[in-house]
């Protein structure tokens, strides 16, 4: 049984105070709230374990280094990576993808093609576009079917022996569409093409197993899975991480520096320049423990159930169009209301204490493909229940009343 009350109680933000009268937080795709254990882990580190890592010869520094590396192991286990060395800590999904794109820059030529999809977040679109501008490679965008799902047939046809990278998202942060990752990776592998998976939305929704999916690189953000901001993960297969030119250079990633040249450590440390967010990495480890304890199967089931309940309510409202093929399969739903602008919806919802996002959700190319300007997005997590969905629907009724 999924004990929602017990889970909610672990999130201080939902405790009723004058500041936050009964928050209905449905903006989980932007960032999740933080459970007490994660907040306390930060507090414990900064209050009692704080030291820089990197070969400190005193106990505090040694202990910090060990905790940091233990967090790496936790991430590796969470993703079922082959070894902790496949896990590079970085700021978040955005930095992880930029690290790969710029790390490949010295290898990419004007003969090459880079393929992304029309449903990518700007973070998995613009870095590749930039790489193409820098190298002369061709930037190609796999189109969607009319229902907003990826057209696998056309994707397959766009892949060819020139395709160096296929970068795509696991779950669309706008539509909630779940892409068939294994199938897409298999298509790419036929052409020896590198696969970069944006897992920002999937890691907190479903079990993500990198060996099973067989993607070459994967990126996610700690703050979207109950962890702190400023920490994220680039996973990469060992030999492929080693091929990346270090995105940043500085302390901790060096073996030797002379005036003539520098030599860098192997990954992951060779890709982590400077003082990393040690406390944040450790607290991310705590967040992953928290998730594992609840169980991703339970999380998926619960979020789907809650979202489907909300979806029913939306459909009964009338004059609401839900977008994309994924409605009801993930924890994200996007919709537009007849003749009512998403910003007006979000303002009125916000006033009713219901937090949703309105806009293009950093997916302008997707908006262009769908022929719309913006949507209202509600995204559900472990602490949302049917009461939250009811409050959402009630508030939408108010919207329709005001705007009619």
């Amino acid at each position: 049984m999924f004990a929602i009350d017990r889970i909610r109680r672990q999130f201080p933000v939902f405790r009723l105070t004058d500041d936050h009268p009964a928050l209905v937080y449905l903006d989980n795709a932007a960032t999740t709230q933080k459970p007490m254990v994660v907040i306390e882990r930060l507090q414990q580190f900064y209050g009692h374990e704080n030291a820089n890592i990197h070969r400190g010869i005193y106990r505090l520094a040694h202990k910090a280094t060990q905790s940091y590396e233990r967090a790496r192991t936790k991430v590796a286990n969470f993703l079922n990576a082959k070894q902790p060395e496949e896990v590079v800590f970085c700021r978040g999904t955005t930095e992880a993808i930029n690290m790969v794109a710029q790390g490949l820059r010295h290898q990419v030529t004007s003969e090459d093609e880079i393929l992304v999809t029309a449903m990518e977040h700007h973070a998995n679109y613009v870095p590749w576009q930039t790489l193409c501008k820098q190298t002369g490679a061709s930037f190609r965008v796999a189109p969607l079917k009319e229902n907003g799902s990826l057209d696998l047939y056309l994707l397959g046809k766009m892949l060819n022996k020139k395709t160096r990278v296929l970068a795509f998202t696991h779950i669309s942060n706008t539509l909630g569409t779940i892409n068939p990752v294994s199938e897409i990776v298999e298509l790419a592998k036929k052409h020896q093409c590198l696969t970069v998976l944006d897992a920002a939305q999937s890691v907190a929704f479903d079990q993500v197993d990198v060996q099973d999916l067989n993607c070459d690189f994967l990126a996610f953000s700690g703050h979207k899975i109950f962890g702190p901001m400023g920490i994220g993960v680039l996973y990469g297969k060992t030999e492929l991480l080693a091929d990346l030119y270090p995105y940043q250079q500085g302390g901790g990633m060096i073996t030797e520096v002379t005036e003539q040249e520098s030599r860098f450590k192997n990954p992951p440390h060779g890709l982590e320049a400077g003082t990393p967010p040690v406390a944040e990495a450790i607290a991310l480890g705590t967040a992953l423990d928290f998730v594992s304890e609840i169980g991703l199967l339970n999380i998926r089931e619960h979020s789907q159930k809650t979202l489907n309940y909300a979806l029913d309510g939306l459909n009964r409202l009338g004059k609401v169009n839900t977008l994309g093929p994924g409605s009801g399969t993930s924890n994200i739903i996007s919709f537009v209301m007849d003749m009512i602008h998403p910003h007006d919806v979000a303002t009125i919802l916000g006033e009713a204490g219901v937090a949703v996002r309105a806009g293009h959700h950093c997916c302008q190319p997707l908006m262009q493909a769908l022929g719309i300007n913006s949507t209202v997005r509600a995204s559900f997590s472990i602490y949302n229940d049917t009461d939250d969905a009811d409050r959402l629907i009630d508030a939408l009724k108010t919207v329709q009343k005001i705007m009619s």
Partner: protein, 141 residues
């Protein structure tokens, strides 16, 4: 509905949004200006005709929220008969009232000024006005 929301989605605003003044495409107009906020996707095109240096006709078309539509509609309603200097003055005093002191302003401006109390909504009520202001400033110098 809260008092504040009632003010924001005031009847005066909703009237403008339901029946906007001069909501029509006129590609043949003397002056055609895009008021576009790429960040939120709102986009209006403003069409002005000048006669004897005065605005003889003003209309607009495009896509935006209730607030931006009402604000643009109000702008269109206010322009005819004014020359560019007068338009500039009008816009400057609108923006001033909105941002600093709407106590002596028209009811509809008072209503629109409530938008500034709402997260992320300021752009909606100034977009068309500021775009036209920039255009006029460039024209007049």
């Amino acid at each position: 509905m809260s008092e504040s929301l009632k003010k924001l989605y005031h009847d005066l605003i909703m009237d403008h949004q339901r029946n906007p003044v001069g909501f029509k495409k006129r590609d043949e107009a003397d002056i055609v200006i895009d008021a576009y906020n790429p960040v939120c996707g709102d986009k209006f095109t403003l069409y002005l005709d000048l006669e004897n240096n005065k605005v003889s006709q003003a209309s607009f078309h495009g896509y935006g929220c209730a607030l931006s539509k009402a604000a643009t509609s109000l702008l269109m309603a206010s322009l005819p008969g004014k020359n560019l200097e007068q338009c500039q003055q009008l816009i400057e005093s609108y923006l001033y009232e909105l941002r600093y002191d709407s106590s002596g302003a028209e009811e509809i401006v008072k209503a629109l000024s409530v938008a500034l109390k709402y997260p992320g909504r300021e752009q909606c009520v100034v977009l068309s006005w500021e775009t036209l202001l920039k255009f006029i400033e460039a024209r007049l110098t």
